[in-house]
């Protein structure tokens, strides 16, 4: 929460779909799953699905209405990233800066495999 939010809050009621689910359960699930991956701008460590900030509510409403109109969640993500940068999305991208992250499991697996392979070979030599 920012200090401004602590001092004052908007008196307006929440946007229509901020705290109201979509009527179609499949669309609601799509919208909710997507909201879990979008970072709140006011409470920066929460997703907008978890945040009570008024701006998060407005964004939830916007997302639900867009999904009800048939927009794809990834389209909405692109729209948000265009405005706020990668920061807004919790979903890791395939940008070069994240290549070490994607490579880590493979590297660890290969390293572990080599270690095990070495042990087995040594043990075989000892027992032979």
């Amino acid at each position: 929460m920012s200090s401004a939010a602590l001092l004052a809050q908007t008196a307006l009621p929440p946007a229509p779909y901020a705290d109201r689910q979509l009527d179609d359960p499949a669309q609601e699930k799509k919208a909710h799953d997507f909201m879990l991956t979008i970072r709140c701008l006011t409470c920066q460590s929460q997703s907008i699905a978890d945040s009570n900030a008024s701006m998060a509510g407005d964004l939830r409403s916007e997302i639900r209405q867009r999904i009800a109109r048939g927009e794809d969640p990834e389209q909405i993500r692109a729209w948000l990233i265009e405005r706020y940068g990668d920061w807004i999305s919790y979903e890791p991208t395939a940008e070069p800066i994240l290549w070490p992250l994607w490579a880590a499991p493979v590297v660890l697996l290969l390293g572990g495999g080599a270690l095990v392979w070495g042990r087995i070979r040594r043990r075989k030599k000892e027992s032979a």
Binding site: S2, A4, L7, A8, Q9, T10, A11, L12, A15, L41, T42, Q44, S54, M55, D58, L59, S61, E62, I81, E82, R83, Y84, G85, W87, I88
Partner: protein
């Protein structure tokens, strides 16, 4: 000798990570999220009037050859009241300023302007923060400089302090 080094390696890695995490916990980052829309054209919008004695605001009213300031504010926002003398000073210097009131009601905006002064030529009412989201703005108050060609040239996040006025004036003059 080499083996002894390896024995201590996991502990060293652990200590380094522990230091990193404790450091992060002690100094949580209060991050400012800059709009990625700076340099791009102002998104299209048409908002209803936010105050009773000022006309409504639409994106078409920018891009008319002269740079303008676009101030994002709200009557419920305390730093917005704090920055009003700076906005009045900019207005007095001949800089045109338009406002967008976020999650607000016209009566509240009227009272706010009567109390703190009205530096705006036009005021739009953004009841659902939709234009704010379209601008890549992450809070109130924020001030955008819009060039005469309708492009967003600069974003100032947070309230304008007395020592920010000269910078905004210089940027506005440079944009002409």
């Amino acid at each position: 000798m080499k083996g002894r080094w390896l024995t201590w390696l996991p502990l060293a890695v652990f200590a380094a990570l522990a230091l990193l995490f404790v450091g992060g916990l002690l100094r949580p980052e209060g991050r400012v999220i800059e709009s990625k829309m700076v340099g791009k054209p102002l998104p299209a919008f048409a908002l209803p009037a936010g105050a009773s004695d000022r006309p409504a605001l639409a994106s078409a009213q920018f891009a008319k050859g002269k740079p303008r300031l676009l101030n994002i504010f709200a009557s419920w926002c305390v730093p917005c009241a704090a920055e009003s003398p700076q906005l009045m000073a900019l207005k007095q210097a001949g800089i045109p300023i338009d406002g967008i009131a976020i999650r607000d009601a016209r009566g509240d905006v009227d009272r706010f302007l009567a109390r703190y002064g009205n530096p705006y030529e036009r005021i739009g009412l953004d009841a659902r923060s939709s234009v704010q989201l379209d601008l890549g703005s992450s809070g109130v108050p924020e001030t955008f400089l819009i060039g005469g060609d309708g492009r967003i040239l600069h974003q100032h996040i947070g309230d304008l302090r007395a020592d920010d006025v000269a910078d905004i004036m210089d940027r506005w003059k440079a944009a002409q």
